[in-house]
Amino acid sequence: MVRYFKKIMHFLLLFSRQGRLRLQKWFTPTPEREKKKIIRDMTAMVLARKPKTCNFLHWMDLKVVYKRYASLFFCLAIDDQENELLALEILHRYVELLDKYFGNVCELDIIFNFEKAYFILDEFLIGGEVQETSKQTVARCIEASDMLQEVKHTHTLAHMLIL
């Protein structure tokens, strides 16, 4: 069993209504087998929730905050002591960032551009904590990083836009 030492977020999962995983971010080292089991459990629990229930669940010694956006469920496991309402805001912010990047984001965008979804996440969260609270700043950084990918060699990167 994985021991969860104290931090805000433990893992973030995105999955479809059929239970297909679209993104997984683990903020605690977890063995592969354990990850698979957690994904199964989370998916089952969240998909079984009736429509008019609140967005919080208890699982092991963690709180699970989930929200459905279109055909995707966003599921964030937080420490028992953490603020669930803020966790909802975190999920919402991530969705906004995806939306801004992809323009009216939908599940297919996340499927076919999953690595971009991760890059965006990594500009928003680091090590299980929020790193940047400004939407615009995150968006600008992603844009700049994308531009960088077009450049062939990194020794020209120093000239790129510094934020």
Partner: protein, 620 residues
């Protein structure tokens, strides 16, 4: 053809597979191709091959053979390859994999890279999967970045430091000076990270905590700035200026103010200001208010502030958003023992939440309601609770069994006279509850016979529903083996105990008598109990015993009819109870009319609820 299309092409092919088997086939082929590509020399498509592998990994297929490729890509001079390499490292490598150590050197180099985007990759990866060893190795580098770099890097370095401190707590000392200086930053991202870092340092080291208490005025100042600042396109969310930062600062203040009067005083006004001025119509504001409440309750705050906090929770109970109602319940539950009176003031709203649509809110409301039962409010509370039980969702029924026992136990001996008959009426009318109510009450009775109201209700239920008890099988409680002798033992104990009041013994005797039609084997034992009490010193008991004896002997043909289960009690026939109607709280069921025997032997007719003529209610 742009290489990225090859990745998307593969995804399309995989998705078009019609069966699991077909998908597996496609993936096996792709993995074989990817493996072959990995073995080749640099061909310009390395990052896309790894990306394909990462996709396959997300579908649940093994991808460990990609670990070394991640290491190789991270060391590449090309940004796009580094980017995917680091992503792969975060997905496939964790501190428990040997390969993770191999990237330490690359990370070290990249932390000093001339491009901040490359530095960013290294920082992110270190904070995600850095092992203790890697953390020790790279901590000085992180400290350097904390002090002299752009805001972009600083904010990431700060969170990296947080990760390092979590992995290797002793390194906290290294980061403390830099952390203190970071509070002067204006950039919200850096400030946010700094607050988290300071929180982490204070939680792990008592001396550091003392040190940072001096920063309370500074934190208060920052917070005040946020609360009073106007709209900012960068940071405003639903009218709240940077709720993420506000919540983190409030959390840090909580830790600093705990058990410390000076620090708590210094933040008192600010907390009152936040509590009063924050708009809670959207989640962002509610999140801030929630954190404020938690902080107020945890530090040494003035009583006025505490009341303000509990009132916020009370207001939350009325919020349209069920999430807010839910967290209000959980918070109230935490403080109900320490701030009982403050929570009691919101009892009405809490009880209303028993009717909430949301099952989680309902369950919380149940727990909280039980905690709020007292001798004074037990009657109205029980009414609400039993009504709740009759309509509650199946998954809550198991909790519900305690609903009958806990309030009675909590109210103790100190209840008003009409409470017992009223409770009995409520139980009778909730027929789905008979089975586990009798189970619960039986267990409670066996454990303790000193609380008269509890014993009386228990005896009555056992008398009425003893057959359910004998069946032993009740879906909502654990099965229990109860024999007829066990039940009679329990009732006899009550009869004989010096703790039992005369009224209670009356209940027990009548219950024993009723069982004569509900049990099969031990009727003789009942006969003998009843005949013994025919010569009891207590006149009331003696009269009953004599009459019950007669029911056995002369009127045996009527015994079954007289002792039939009680019908649903109509509120209008309640006569004696002083019209304290709860208004629509009683559930009317199909009454089962008993056969009216020609002669009424019992002192009270079977269809009337005994309200008691003062001095302890009669049984039936």
């Amino acid at each position: 053809m742009s290489p990225s299309v090859r990745l998307q092409e593969m995804i399309r092919v995989i998705r078009s597979a019609r069966t699991q088997g077909e998908e597996r086939g496609v993936i096996q082929r792709e993995c074989a191709a990817i493996r072959a590509q990995f073995r080749q020399a640099d061909n310009g498509g390395r990052s896309h091959n790894l990306a394909k592998l990462l996709y396959v990994h997300m579908l649940g297929y093994p991808a460990h053979f990609g670990q070394m490729e991640c290491v190789r890509l991270i060391a590449s001079p090309r940004y796009n390859e580094k980017r995917v390499g680091y992503l792969g490292a975060m997905m496939l490598l964790d501190e428990n994999q040997d390969a993770s150590l191999l990237i330490t050197n690359s990370i070290k180099n990249d932390l000093a890279h001339s491009s901040q985007y490359v530095q960013s990759l290294a920082l992110c990866t270190l904070a995600c999967m850095g092992s203790a060893e890697m953390c020790r190795d790279l901590a000085p580098e992180i400290d350097r970045l904390l002090r002299a770099s752009s805001s972009y890097i600083k904010k990431k370095a700060t969170l990296c430091a947080v990760h390092i401190v979590r992995k290797v707590p002793e390194l906290g000392e290294l980061f403390t000076p830099a952390a203190r200086a970071l509070l002067a930053e204006k950039n919200h991202g850096v400030l946010h990270g700094a607050v988290i870092l300071i929180t982490e340092l204070c939680e792990r080291n008592a001396q550091t905590l003392v040190q940072f208490r001096e920063a309370v005025p500074e934190l208060v100042h920052i917070m005040r700035g946020l609360v009073t600042s106007g709209y900012s396109p960068e940071h405003t969310v639903a009218g709240i200026s940077d709720p993420f930062l506000q919540v983190r600062i409030l959390r840090l203040l909580r830790i600093l103010g705990r058990n410390n009067d000076t620090a708590s005083d210094a933040m008192n006004d600010l907390l009152a200001q936040v509590a009063t001025n924050t708009d809670s119509s959207k989640t962002a504001g509610s999140a801030v208010l929630y954190e404020t409440v938690l902080t107020v309750m945890d530090i040494k705050s003035e009583s006025g502030l505490r009341v303000l906090a509990v009132n916020i929770l009370g207001r939350f109970l009325l919020n349209n958003d069920r999430n807010i109602r839910y967290i209000s319940m959980t918070s109230l539950q935490k403080i109900v023992s320490t701030d009982h009176n403050a929570v009691q003031r919101h009892r009405g709203t809490i009880v209303d939440c028993l009717k909430d649509q949301d099952a989680s809110v309902k369950r919380r409301a149940l727990e909280l309601s039980l905690a709020l039962v007292s001798a004074i409010n037990i009657r109205s509370m029980m009414k609400e609770l039993l009504l709740f039980l009759s309509t509650c969702p199946p998954e809550l029924k198991s909790h519900a069994a305690s609903v009958t026992v806990i309030p009675l136990r909590q109210a103790g001996a100190d209840v008003r006279d009409e409470t017992v008959p009223n409770l009995i009426q409520l139980i009778t009318n909730a027929s789905q509850l008979h089975c586990y109510t009798v189970h619960k009450l039986y267990r409670a009775l066996v454990a303790d016979i000193s609380q008269q109201p509890l014993v009386q209700v228990a005896c009555w239920c056992i008398g009425e529903y003893g057959d359910s008890l004998l069946q032993g099988d009740c879906e909502e409680t654990e099965p229990i083996q109860v024999t007829e002798d066990d039940i009679l033992d329990a009732l006899e104990t009550v009869l004989q105990s010096h703790m039992s009041s005369p009224a209670t013994r009356g209940f027990a005797l009548t219950a024993t008598m009723k069982l004569s039609t509900r049990i099969t084997e031990n009727v003789d034992r009942i006969r003998s109990i009843v005949s013994i009490y025919g010569s009891c010193m207590d006149v009331e008991l003696q009269q009953r015993a004599v009459e019950y004896n007669a029911l056995f002997k002369k009127y045996d043909h009527m015994r079954a009819a007289v002792l039939e289960k009680m019908p649903v009690m109509d509120r209008s026939s309640m006569g004696q109870t002083n019209g304290e109607s709860g208004g629509g709280g009683v559930q009317e069921l199909e009454p089962t009319k008993p056969k009216q025997p020609e002669m009424m032997v019992a002192p009270q007719p079977a269809s009337q609820v005994g309200g008691g003529e003062g001095g302890g209610g009669h049984g039936f």
